[in-house]
């Protein structure tokens, strides 16, 4: 889960490392993902998100498809 200067750098990294390109998305989507995922992490009642809750957070951030299925 890394940051790259551009999509071109992702492709270069993939070609060099031999690791296939996975999911590429914007910083806006990252921010929409991180806020609901971590907002209650300093609460004493925090628990891991259920699969359905996690899928809802991914979808809300615009991250959809097989890559984002925890039951895939």
């Amino acid at each position: 889960m890394r940051l790259f200067r551009s999509e071109e750098h992702v492709r270069q990294w993939s070609a060099t490392s031999g690791i296939p390109v996975g999911a590429v998305f914007s910083l806006d989507a990252l921010w929409r993902l991180a806020q609901p995922w971590f907002h209650n992490r300093l609460s004493s009642t925090w628990r891991r998100a259920t699969m359905d809750e996690a899928h809802a957070i991914f979808e809300q951030a615009g991250l959809t498809g097989a890559f984002w299925r925890l039951d895939g």
Partner: protein
Amino acid sequence: MSDRAVTDLDASVRLTILNGFLDGRAPSVASVARDLGLGDNDIAAAFDRLAAGRAIVLEPSSRDILMAAPLAGVPTDFSVRLGDRSVYANCIWDAVGVPAMLAGAGRPMDATIATRCADCAAPLGLEVRDGRLTSADPDAVVHFAVPAARWWADIVFT
């Protein structure tokens, strides 16, 4: 920890770990035991339960904390500056998660995140100010290599 009960002790231990890192310390079984006024054995057992529930990740050969998401127990390529102190995060998602976590607790969330392009190692920076995430690198993108279903197969790589 959806598949097991979270005890009050486990919750206290988890929060003591996170707040310890946020205070610039390196929490351990011994330090958490001191902070909570409990014995090492009770805290070690809580560490093990939290690790089994994936709330924290421990070094394989010890109970040293490798990860207490979103914070890292070891230096990483994801530094998050919060006022006059810095913490490490485990990945770019966790790095951005640090200010998100602080905001959720009603704490100041302004942060400066320093990392490097995973391809060319050029420094990349993100800023969280007034609840907005911005970057001086307008073309920067996030890449997740591992599909969600396999994140925990090798969480350090993920």
